[in-house]
């Protein structure tokens, strides 16, 4: 029963009578009547209506349900479960680094934390509503009162059980009559009634369904601990064995060579864009194999190229060589400050020794590196290397001019 607290105090039920029932035709008369019954001190009684009647709770003296607190507790259990499962599985039991991210972080686990809180809270709410209400309760003596069937349609009822300690068939009936009930009726107990049997068709359907659903389990059980020499069934063989070759598989078509599914490219194969047959442009060498003394024809020398060279120089060269190329870059200053023993000061690119070198040799140095300096071929595309050289030439020229003009005798 739903009235869990009240049920301890019950009087002697009148034999054969389950309750007295009073019918009303609108919510207002139900509320008025409920107040009278409440004031008489009845405990095992209830109101029935086709929809929730507002104002009935105080009229009957119903206390607030503790349902929200149950929901809150189980909802928080859901949150805890979600975070514990995610932390334990991903950060403890099976550590798996993705893109160098931490194994455990709060933000990435919030969505599932939220969803599981809602899931736990919602299931709890629904089940607690049923449990606290004592549902499901498929049969009740009230079902045999024809009048009461309209409790789910358009009528309102008060039912006082004969098990109530204050119940007295005459006095209770008088009380209900005084509440302007449309009708008052005794509800017989349902011990002798058997009309609520489940229809036989439904019983047979359920039994057959249960029997059929046991067949697979029977098959599993019979196959347990048995030996077989048959290969496993491939129910979807198309998906298990796909008509394609994978890298490390055998391929009989190439029996004459190595029978591998993966093939080496034909000798002399060059990937698109990797041909590089212009030695002047890609290696800085002329037809004879010596370092070229001119810029390659594939590279256009103009103002835009110098500007590009200046920008690239700023990115790749200044850290060591400095803004003017004198070898006083940040890396050098830092190494100097730390008094690194093996550190050699980067070359001053305006040094006449460097200025005298051919552009082809400079290209080779930038591409492959020299002494401490690493090669930049992987980071700087050939055209940009030529642009940097063009800018380096401009730096050398401007600084040579400056030195020349400064040492000129004054007029």
């Amino acid at each position: 029963m739903s009235q869990e607290k009240e049920s301890q105090t019950s009087g002697t039920p009148v034999p054969g009578v389950y309750a007295l029932l009073a019918e009303y035709h609108d919510p207002d008369s139900l509320i008025a009547a409920a107040k009278k019954v409440r004031d008489k001190g009845y405990q095992r009684w209830d109101c029935y209506s086709p929809f929730p009647v507002h104002g009935i709770d105080p009229a009957m003296g119903i206390k607030r349900t503790r349902l929200p607190w149950i929901t809150l507790c189980l909802g928080l259990t859901g949150t805890t479960t979600a975070f514990t499962v995610q932390w334990w599985t991903n950060a403890v039991d099976y550590k798996w680094t993705v893109s160098g991210k931490p194994l455990w972080s709060f933000a990435a686990n919030v969505p599932i934390g939220f969803e599981l809180s809602v899931l736990f809270a919602a299931i709890t709410t629904f089940l607690s509503m049923l449990l606290l209400n004592g549902l499901p309760r498929l049969s009740s003596p009230l079902d045999h009162v024809k009048r009461f069937l309209r409790a789910s349609d358009d009528k309102f009822f008060i039912v006082i059980e004969s098990a109530d300690p204050k119940f007295d068939e005459k006095a209770t009936r008088t009380l209900l009559d005084e509440t302007h009930a449309d009708a008052v009726e005794a509800v017989p107990t349902d011990d002798h009634l058997s009309s609520d049997r489940i229809p036989s068709g439904i019983i047979y359907t359920i039994l057959i369904a249960i029997a059929v659903s046991l067949i697979p389990f029977g098959l599993f059980a019979s196959a347990r601990n048995s030996l077989t020499t048959n290969p496993p069934y491939n129910i979807v063989s198309n998906m298990d064995y796909q008509a394609k070759y994978k890298a490390q598989r055998k391929n009989d078509f190439f029996k004459s060579s190595d029978s591998r599914a993966m093939r080496m490219p034909v000798e002399g194969t060059v990937a698109v864009g990797d041909l590089r047959d212009d030695a002047h442009f890609y290696e800085g060498k002329d037809a004879s194999g010596a370092f070229a003394r001119t810029f390659p024809s594939a590279f256009t020398v103009d103002d835009a190229a110098i500007a590009r060279g200046q920008e690239r120089f700023g990115i790749y060269c200044t850290p060591c060589h400095g803004q003017t190329g004198d070898g006083d870059g940040m890396v050098h200053r830092h190494a100097f400050a730390l008094q690194e023993g093996t550190w050699v000061k980067p070359t001053n690119i305006a040094d006449p020794k460097i200025a005298d070198k051919s552009v082809g040799e400079l290209f080779n140095t930038i591409s492959n590196g020299i002494r401490n300096m690493p090669g930049y071929a992987r980071q700087v595309p050939p055209a940009d290397r030529w642009a940097i050289i063009l800018y380096v030439r401009a730096l050398q020229k401007s600084q040579a001019e400056f030195v020349a003009s400064a040492t000129e005798p004054t007029k």
């Binding site: 929901t71 993705v98 709410t125 439904i202």
Partner: protein
């Protein structure tokens, strides 16, 4: 008595001594009649045919593999994910109507919430099916759940796809419970009016012995409130998480922070359009015009106008951010979206989603039932294209031009998608036939409150 009910014309007003009984009659007579209207049989027949086609397609898919679809290497997601997002979005209106409008005390929702919630559940079933059959090894989707196993492997919980599993399954479970809980008092009404033993038993069983006790109503109402309060953030989270599937990737056109609100607005937009499309014929055929009134449809059309405008704003904002971000990839993705190979899909989407709902500024159009259905269908076509445009136009242009490709659907893509409508409508038509389509107990409660206020 069953026969006397049967002979009544569908358009006849409901019978009863008082308003409460008329409401009960209007709702339950649909369940009680031995023969539904002819239109129901025709619609149900067509739905069953498409459902069978769907089952055949799935069988063939499991046999042959994903290659029967048009999914290809840059566009690996293809229609299955488009259809997934489309159906999940449809579902959201149901929860919005039942939960959010409940919390805002919008009493008009009682006319439409039951059907909208049913629509939610059936749409989510259609949605869940698509990733389920798209995984390639359809006998292994349980790997997505954290089930202890001999391989000691767990799902990667930092992946939005894992979030999606939890979001959608939670959403389905909670929606189902919310819907079932609302049904309990109405199933009890059908039980108490039943004339056959089987109907009395079945409806009695599923109404769990509900008798309308005031003590039960007290807890029921509290539980209903709590479920509404839980469903409201849930519905927002579900489509946000669906949008994370896209937004947490680094693909131009997907990697944007506007996605969660934009997806949620789109979901509500398409869902309301679907409710209108379904309810206008249902109220016509099942004689529910006294309960589902023109003003209810008009209110839904206003929501469509509002959310449609929001969606239009999001489309504009995407372009603005693509330009304002200065990212050349982002810029290219959007120029490609509007003028690239999928321009036809993009402009279909714009005309259906941005232009067509603007007609609802006019009251005459809002209250016209035929136009409401037509615009509802247009909106749903547009919203399907929105997901198609997002999925395919971002995927078909890879970062590497050598990997560019074009997605062309195969007949199996079409048949599977159409088949999902067969599944949806089969379930929806069975619902219309065997379950109370309108929350009668709530309508009665609203009527009583208005009656009381009038005194």
């Amino acid at each position: 008595m069953a026969n006397t009910v049967d002979l009544r014309d569908w358009q006849e007003p409901p019978r009863g001594e008082n308003t409460y009984q008329k409401i009960t009659d209007a709702v339950t007579r649909v369940v009680e009649r031995t023969r539904p209207p002819k239109a129901w049989y025709i619609a149900f027949g067509i739905s069953l045919v498409w459902l069978s086609i769907l089952l055949c397609c799935i069988g063939y898919l499991f046999w042959m593999g994903i290659g029967i679809w048009g999914n290809n290497n840059p566009v690996a997601w293809g229609w299955p994910i488009v259809n997934f997002v489309f159906w999940v979005g449809i579902g959201h209106a149901g929860t919005l109507i039942s939960a959010v409008l409940y919390l805002f005390r919008q009493n008009w929702r009682t006319a439409i919430n039951r059907a909208a919630e049913a629509m939610t559940i059936f749409a989510v079933i259609c949605a869940v099916m698509f990733p389920g059959i798209h995984v390639g090894r359809p006998w292994l989707p349980y790997w997505m759940l954290p089930i202890p196993n001999q391989m000691d492997m767990w799902p990667q919980f930092r992946s939005p796809l894992a979030w999606d599993i939890f979001a959608v399954s939670t959403y389905f479970t909670v929606s189902l419970m919310f819907w079932f809980m609302g049904l309990i008092p109405d199933l009890a009404s059908v039980r108490d009016r039943a004339t056959s033993k089987t109907r009395r038993f079945l409806y009695g069983f599923f109404s769990l012995g509900w008798r309308g006790s005031a003590r039960h109503w007290h807890r029921y109402e509290k539980a209903y409130q709590i479920l509404a309060a839980l469903s409201t953030p849930l519905v927002l989270s579900v489509h946000s998480v669906v949008s994370f599937d896209f937004a947490t990737s680094q693909l131009p056109g997907w990697h944007t922070t506007i996605f969660p609100p934009y997806f949620v607005a789109g979901a509500i937009f398409s869902g309301f359009a679907m409710v209108v499309t379904l309810l206008v014929p249902a109220r016509e055929f099942f004689g529910l015009k006294t309960l589902v009134k023109v003003e209810h449809i008009e209110l839904m059309n206003k929501v469509i106008l509002a959310t449609g405008t929001l969606v239009g704003y999001a489309y504009g904002m995407e372009f603005f951010i693509a330009w304002y971000s200065g990212s050349q990839y982002e810029g290219f993705a959007f120029i490609n979206r509007a003028f690239g190979p999928y321009a036809w899909a993009y402009w279909t989407m714009i005309s259906c989603n941005v232009i067509s709902p603007q007609l609802y500024w006019f009251k005459k159009i809002r209250t016209n039932m035929v136009l409401s259905v037509i615009i509802g269908v247009f909106v749903n076509v547009g919203m399907w294209f929105e997901r198609f445009v997002i999925t395919c136009s971002s995927l078909n242009r890879d970062f590497l031009p050598s990997s560019w490709g074009y997605f062309t659907p195969t007949p199996f893509d079409f048949l599977t998608f159409m088949g999902s409508f067969g599944l949806f409508f089969t379930m929806f038509l069975l619902f219309c036939r065997y379950l109370p389509q309108v929350a009668a107990s709530e309508v009665k409660g609203v009527h009583a409150a208005q009656h009381h206020a009038a005194h």
